[in-house]
Symmetry: C2
Subunit: 333 residues, 2 copies
Amino acid sequence: MANITDVAHEAGVSLATVSRVISGQTSVRPETRDRVLKAIQKLNYQPNALARQLRTQETKTAIVIVPNIQNALTHEVVFGIESAAESHGYQVLVADMRSQPSIESHYLNAIQQRQVDGIISMSASMTQKLIQQVADQYPLVMAVQDFESCNIPCVSIDNAAASRTAMLHLIRMGHRNIAHITASTSLLLYRERYNSYCQTLEEHGLPVTPELIRHGEASFEGGYAQAEALLASGKAFTAIFAAGDTMAIGAIKALKKHGVRVPQDCAVVGFDDIELAAFWDPALTTIRQPKTQIGQVAFRKLLTLMKKEPLLSMHDILPHELIIRESCGYVLE
Amino acid sequence: MANITDVAHEAGVSLATVSRVISGQTSVRPETRDRVLKAIQKLNYQPNALARQLRTQETKTAIVIVPNIQNALTHEVVFGIESAAESHGYQVLVADMRSQPSIESHYLNAIQQRQVDGIISMSASMTQKLIQQVADQYPLVMAVQDFESCNIPCVSIDNAAASRTAMLHLIRMGHRNIAHITASTSLLLYRERYNSYCQTLEEHGLPVTPELIRHGEASFEGGYAQAEALLASGKAFTAIFAAGDTMAIGAIKALKKHGVRVPQDCAVVGFDDIELAAFWDPALTTIRQPKTQIGQVAFRKLLTLMKKEPLLSMHDILPHELIIRESCGYVLE
DNA sequence: TTGTACGCGTTATCAG
DNA sequence: CTGATAACGCGTACAA
C-alpha cells in the first residue's frame, strides 16, 4: 500500500508538499497541487489514519457507552449522536454493555490509550465516583441518564415533569386508583419518575397505595410479571403508569390475558415512545423523549468539551411530549 | 500522560526493557521486572494504542457492517461476533448503515486507512462487484446474507432448506392455499426463500398463485400492508409464510384487524425468531437462525483470513430450527 | 539480560 | 510556495 513518500516521489515533490495538498490548509501552487493529486489517484493513496492520529494526538472519534443497543430508545439517541458527529467530521464508536459487561475498564482504556477523544455515556450503572473521576480528566457527557447532585455535563428531559404530565393525563380522565410499574429506583431516572408519581397523586388528594407500586425488570417480561402481581394483589386500580414502554407493553399483554380490557377496564400510559408503541394493540399512549435531539445536543456538548471551550450549561433539559394513542382512551380538551 | 520513556526513567532502565515487560515475550530479570511494574503503577501508565498499532501494523480490530442494528436478528449476530472477538483479543467496531448510508466508502476507508484488520458484512445491498474487489484484497466475510455464485467467504443457514421446513409444516397441517409475504428478491436471501416456497408448493401439487405472493418492505408496516393486499385480492388462503418475523407480526396485526383469527382462520409462520416473536399474541411459529453461532463462526473465519491461513470451506452452513408456537396451531407428530 | 538506534507514516516547524 | 527535519510513542533487530 502506497504511503505519502511514494506519492511525493511519484509527483516529484517533497512529502511535506503532499501533506499540504491533503490538508488543504496552506497554499500550494496549482500546478504542483495537480501533480500531487494525479499521483494520489494513480497510486490509489489513502492516508494512514493511525500515523495521522499519533501525530496530531487526536482521533476524531467519540465512544458512546450504551446499556443495550437493542433498546429502541438507545438506538435513536445513538442515531442522533452519529448524525451530529458526522457533520463535524467525527466517527463514533458504540460500546454495548450487554456484550461487554466490564465496559467500565474497557472504555476507560479506550480513552486512556488515546483511541478516542471523548465519551458519551447513556449508562448510569457504574459507580458515580468512578465516572466523576473520568469526567474530571476527560471530555465526558451523560445522555438520557443522570446522577444525583453531581458535576457531570448531561443532556436529558425533565423526568419529574414528564411523569407529572402522564399522571395529569390519567387524573384528568377520572382515574383515582393509579398503579405504577417501574424498574429499580437505584437509577435516578426511575427514582425521579417514581417520586413524581407519588407527588402528583398527593397533590390531588389521591392515595399512594404501596401494593399498587411494583418494581421489576425494565422489559416485556418484567412488565408482564408486574401487571400480574398487581392483579394478584387484589387492590383495585383503573390505570397503570409504566415508567417505560417495554414494561407498559408487557403489562398490557398480561391485562389482556386476564380478561382486563385496555383501555376500557384499565388505562395504560408508557414512557419513551419506542417504535413498537405505535404498532402495539392497543397503540400506546406515552411520553415521547426527543431521542434524536438528545443525541445531537449531547454530541455538541461533548464537542465543546473536546475543544476545551467553556460549557454554557451543565445540564441541558429538552422538552418531552405526551403522545395520545389508544391505550388510555381519548380525552377531549 | 506518561509514556514509555517516563516509565523507563522512573524505573531506571531503558525503554526497551519496559516494552519487554509489557509484552511479556522475552525474559527479563525478576527484580528488573518488578521495578518496571512499580513504575507503571506509580505513573498510571497506559500504552498508547495508536503508536503500538502503527508500529505493529495491526489494530486487532474488526469492523462489522450491518443494515440496521435495531434489527433483532442483526443484534444477536453482532453479539456472537463480539463474544468470539473478545476471546481472541480483538475489538469490534459496528457500522450501522442506517446511520451512514454511504457506508461502502466508509468501511472501505476504514480498512484502507489501516484502522481495522478485517471486515464482516451483514449487508448485501452494495454491488457484488465492489465487495468482491474488497474481498480479494482484504480479509472479509459475509454473514447471514450472501451473493450468488461468488467467491466470498460466508456463514449462513441454508435458506432454501429452512423455507422448505416452514412450508412442510404448513402443508402437513393441511393447508393448500399458502400465501407468501416477502421483501425484495434483489437480495439473494429472499430470492432463495421465495424459490423454495414455489418449489415446495409444486412438489406437493399445490398451486402457485401470483396474487398470493406479495413483495414489500421488511418491517411491521410492510407486513401489515402486504397482508391487507392479500385480503383485498379476494383470493382464498388459509396460511401465510412470511420471509421475516417483523413482516409476520405486521401481517398478524392486519389479519386480526380484519377479523381473521390467527391461527383458527389463518396460520402464520415467520422467519428468524426475533425476541418479539415469542412475546407477540399469538406467539409466532417461526424458523430460528442460530444467530449467536453465526456471529461466532463468522469471526473465527475472519480470524483465519487475518492470520493468512487457508480456509477450510468457503461457505459454512449452520443448522436452522423450526420453533413451534401458537400462530399455526399445534401439530402432533 | 539489557541498551542503542531505527522505522512505522504522518504533521508541523523552520529555513530558504 | 516549497523542502528538510524533528517529533508522536512504540517494538525490535542488533550489539553489548
